[in-house]
Each structure stands twice: as structure tokens, then as C-alpha cells.
């Protein structure tokens, strides 16, 4: 039933430092710390100067887990080996801000973009839904693919936009989900909207009410 090879499904690549930029803004969540620290290392070896113009906004592992619990998803224990916040602080960056929840981070991100100048590069590392929400804000500021790099790591849980009632269900891990707005059973498709930062959800039993395909946990 799922169509594969959908062009709108985002493809992410491992983060790489872009030293052509003058300012570097990094957003991370949970296990996204590792790719960001890797980029910081790359930048340090390229030129120590650029680290002064680097800002990091980060949602800690605990915050990431709490966000999932708040949306009804299963909480995950933080891997003990995950790079910590101390490593950002030790990297002598321009500024490091740690948040307990993604939403205040995104609010701060928007405030920073309003003040930012041309020559800024954005690095995002974290779960796809976090990347999507950050990209959505970046698009409003006309940042494009030359200025944004994103690496997906962490949960594959999706934001699903119901095409019937237009509400968005967060943290969807199953191929079929009950919409939070209209309680229809939605089939989660690979069609992605960058504007909404969500995948499309279509009523799955519209033609034969009550006939649901098997429920599978596919977006782990």
C-alpha cells in the first residue's frame, strides 16, 4: 500500500563543516551532539577563528526524552556514552545554550535568525521531526540548501499531517495512526511537506470502514 521512491521524502547527508561561511549556527537534539562535535573538530582544524562565530543550541538527551513522553511516545534511556554538554562548553565556541525542550530552542532559533546576517551556515543534527521543524523556520528566512546542512540521527518517529482535519500528530512510530484531531485511522505516507514539516496521513479505511491493515512499528 505504501508507495516507495517518493521524491518529496527528504534525504540527509552526514554533516560537514562549510568553512566558506562567516557565521555558523548549530542546532542539535539528543544524539545529534556527536555529529555537531565532529563538525566543530573539522572547523577547528580548518581555522580556529571560525569557532568564535559558532553558536550551538542544543536540547539535552533528557529534554529529548521528555519531549517524547509529553507526546505519548515511549521514553528512552539516555545512552551512557553519548557526548555530553560539557564537550560543547569545552570547545571554546561563541555561545552554547542548552534547552530542556525543543520548543524554546526553536523560539530562540527564530530570534537569532532575525538578527543574523548573510554568510550564516546552519547545521542541524537530530531526529527527523526536529530537523523538519528547524528547516521550516529556516525556510521562512529564505535559507536554502546551500546554507543548511542536516544529519538525521535518533528516532525516525514522524510528524503526520491529517489531510482530512489538518491537525498534526506527533511522534508517530507505526504505519497506521489514529489522528489526534478527528480520530480517523491514517496511513502514514512518504509524501513530505517542508512547509508543514510533516508527512501526509490519509484515512486508511475510507472505502471499507473498519478494515485495517496490520499495525506495524516501522519508524523507530
Amino acid at each position: 500500500m505504501l508507495v516507495t521512491g517518493i521524491k518529496s521524502k527528504p534525504v540527509y547527508a552526514p554533516l560537514q563543516a562549510d568553512t566558506r561561511g562567516r557565521f555558523h549556527l548549530m542546532l542539535g537534539m539528543g544524539v545529534g551532539a556527536a555529529p555537531l562535535l565532529r563538525v566543530i573538530d573539522e572547523m577547528r582544524s580548518a581555522s580556529a577563528h571560525s569557532l568564535k562565530h559558532t553558536r550551538v543550541l542544543f536540547v539535552s538527551e533528557a529534554g529529548a526524552a521528555a519531549a517524547e513522553v509529553a507526546h505519548g511516545g515511549p521514553a528512552q534511556g539516555a545512552p551512557a556514552t553519548a557526548p555530553g554538554i560539557e564537550q560543547f562548553n569545552a570547545a571554546a565556541l561563541g555561545e552554547v545554550q542548552i534547552f530542556a525542550h525543543p520548543q524554546p530552542l526553536l523560539d530562540q532559533f527564530r530570534a537569532i535568525l532575525e538578527q543574523s546576517l548573510m554568510g550564516t551556515r546552519l547545521y542541524v543534527a537530530g531526529p527527523e521531526s526536529f530537523i523538519g521543524l528547524a528547516m521550516k523556520i529556516a525556510l521562512e528566512f529564505n535559507l536554502n540548501k546551500d546554507e543548511i546542512r542536516a544529519e538525521e540521527c535518533g528516532t525516525l518517529a514522524r510528524r503526520v499531517y491529517c489531510i482530512h482535519c489538518r491537525s498534526t500528530t506527533e511522534n508517530v512510530r507505526h504505519n497506521i495512526v489514529r489522528c489526534v484531531g478527528c480520530e480517523r485511522w491514517l496511513l502514514v505516507r512518504d509524501h513530505y511537506s517542508r512547509r508543514l514539516a510533516a508527512y501526509m496521513g490519509v484515512m486508511v479505511d475510507a472505502e471499507a470502514p473498519g478494515e485495517l491493515p496490520p499495525l506495524k512499528e516501522v519508524f523507530l
Binding site: 562567516r22 543574523s116 546576517l117 548573510m118 529564505n142 536554502n144 546554507e147
Partner: protein, 328 residues
């Protein structure tokens, strides 16, 4: 080029706006309206000269809302291949010309948060039409216009009316230069820069923007003046490393990496009298300056224009070529 692709127009007005620039109004023969265009578009004017046909691109500078006439500004080029001299010396009110449909390779980015427009000399022309689009003030913009001296500032009244305080004038004679570094280093996120003017100015804006961390997708430029005849010509073998398109010999590819004034194999000189349009064709000259050596009557394979990716059948891109042949 067949007749169906061109529109017959009549010159309805000529005005000498600066010592070097003439302003022409073109109306369709027989009345009616000309094709719709957007700010930044250009047309190719086909002129029947005494010895050869000139095909020169000129930006449309009138309002995109007024389609009864097209307006173009023509600067008299010192090292002309003949086109601008023909427009200045031969064309009178009432003269007939052929023009191609307008094409836009210099449009404004529709989702930009701010536009930074930089013009040098005659490079102001595409911006005049764009200002009509920007007139509603929904998107902030700045126009920086640099000219040699006050008497060379073309279309100043119209610019003041359209842009008002957003127009910044710079006169070389007063030693005022556009502060490129300060401008490009302090633009808000989502700004697009557009530059049209002399080649040196365009290069400087591009390199300064790169130094300030601008990605290419935010830098737009257009240059119509072709490079000097006989210089910086490259045989068309860039894409194929093994051999030149027409001379499958390895030496050609090596030689072609250097600017050459003649084809390394057939030695057809670009600047000599033997270089007629039959042998040399010009394509996309303001993007990559590629010279197309054509010793056979038909190319073996089709090439595509580097500027607009249009396929070129006869080494001549109708959409964006400057001129069909290099005038010796």
C-alpha cells in the same frame, strides 16, 4: 533563425539620455501589443547592417505593465563589433528592426527577504524594469548605482521617482565608490544581490560576496558586453577530456584548457579575417566564453548552452547567445 521567431518593430522614439547612451522606444509594426515580460528580461535586436547581421541583446527597461512599446537603452561601445554603432548612427525614428521574444535570465528571486541591486553604468537598464515590480514596497530593497560622472547618470529622474530614498548614487568623478565590502558584509539573512555592469565590477561583487560567506544561489549577475574579440577563446572540448569534438586528438584537450586565440588543431584564427561566422560561433558568451570551432558543416553532436541549458543545434543558442558570429 527564421522569421517566425522574430517580431517586426518600428522605432517610435529616440532620446539621447547621456553622451553615450541612447534610449529607444520600439512598437510593433501594425500596432497591437508586444509579448508579456518580467523585470530583468532582455530581447535580442536583429539589425541588418551593410556587411553583416548584428544580433545584440538589450535589457527591457520599460514597465512590464506597458506592452504597447518596449524600451531599451543602448550604450555606444568603444570596441564595438558594430551593433551599438549601428543603433546609434543608422537607426532613426521610423526605422524597422526585428526583435526576438523577451527572455529573462536575470529575474528577481520571488521569496527573497531583501534585494540588493548594484548597477554600473549601462547596467542600470534591467533594474529599471525590476523597480516597477518592486514598486509596491512589499520587499525591502536598495539600489546602488555607480556612474563615471553626473552627466553619465542615465534615467536618473525615473530612478528617483521609482526608488526614492532607496537609490544610492556614486560618481567616480567625485571619488565615491560603492562600499562593496561594507554592503555585502551587513545584509540580513535571505538577501539576494543582483549586479549588472562592467565585467570587473561583477567579478568584484562575486568575489566579495564569497568572502562574506554568500552562497552562489544568492548572487545574481548579468553581463552583456562580450569579451574582446580574439582573446580568451577556448576550443569547445571542455566537456570531453579525451579529445576535441571535431579533432579527436589528445593534444587538443590539453591545449584547450588554456585560453587560445585559435583552434590548436585547425589553426583557424579567431581574430583574423578568416574567422567568419561560418567557422566560429559564439555561445553563451557572458557565462563561459566558449568559442565553438566549426570546421565541419554540422556538429557531430548537439551541445547545450551553459547559460540556459537549451539545446543548441547549430552552435547558436537563440535564448541567450550574444551574437552568432565573432566579427573580426
Amino acid at each position: 533563425l527564421n522569421d517566425a521567431q522574430t517580431i517586426a518593430v518600428e522605432v517610435t522614439g529616440i532620446e539621447q539620455v547621456t553622451p553615450l547612451i541612447k534610449h529607444f522606444r520600439l512598437a510593433p509594426v501594425g500596432g497591437g501589443e508586444l509579448p508579456v515580460f518580467s523585470g530583468g528580461s532582455h530581447i535580442i535586436v536583429v539589425m541588418q547592417g551593410a556587411e553583416r547581421v548584428h544580433r545584440n541583446p538589450y535589457s527591457l527597461l520599460g514597465s512590464p505593465n506597458e506592452l504597447g512599446t518596449y524600451e531599451i537603452g543602448v550604450r555606444r561601445m568603444e570596441e564595438s563589433r558594430g551593433g551599438s554603432h549601428f543603433m546609434h548612427d543608422t537607426i532613426q525614428v521610423g526605422s524597422r528592426l526585428e526583435i526576438a521574444h523577451p527572455v529573462n535570465l536575470f529575474g528577481l528571486d520571488k521569496i527573497a527577504r531583501k534585494h540588493l541591486l548594484i548597477a554600473g553604468g549601462i547596467g542600470i537598464t534591467p533594474f529599471l524594469a525590476q523597480l516597477e515590480d518592486l514598486h509596491d514596497g512589499a520587499v525591502p530593497y536598495e539600489l546602488h548605482y555607480s556612474v563615471r560622472a553626473a552627466e553619465h547618470a542615465a534615467f536618473l529622474e525615473r530612478l528617483r521617482r521609482l526608488a526614492g530614498a532607496r537609490l544610492h548614487m556614486y560618481y567616480d568623478s567625485e571619488g565615491r565608490l560603492i562600499p562593496f565590502e561594507a554592503l555585502l558584509a551587513n545584509q540580513p539573512l535571505g538577501t539576494h544581490v543582483y549586479v549588472c555592469g562592467p565585467a570587473g565590477m561583477i567579478q568584484h561583487v562575486i568575489s566579495t560576496a564569497h568572502a562574506c560567506g554568500w552562497p552562489d544561489s544568492h548572487i545574481h549577475w548579468e553581463q552583456f558586453s562580450a569579451p574582446p574579440v580574439g582573446d580568451a577563446l577556448r576550443c569547445f572540448s571542455r566537456a570531453r577530456k579525451s579529445a576535441c569534438m571535431y579533432h579527436p586528438i589528445k593534444a587538443c584537450s590539453k591545449a584547450s584548457r588554456r585560453p587560445a586565440s585559435k583552434c590548436p588543431i585547425c589553426a583557424a584564427a579567431a581574430s583574423a579575417a578568416s574567422a567568419t561566422p561560418k567557422f566560429w560561433s559564439w555561445m553563451g558568451s557572458w557565462c563561459t566564453t566558449i568559442i565553438f570551432c566549426r570546421t565541419r558543416k554540422r556538429p557531430r553532436r548537439r551541445a547545450s548552452c551553459p547559460a540556459c541549458r537549451a539545446r543548441i543545434a547549430n552552435a547558436w543558442c537563440w535564448t541567450c547567445s550574444v551574437e552568432q558570429g565573432v566579427d573580426p
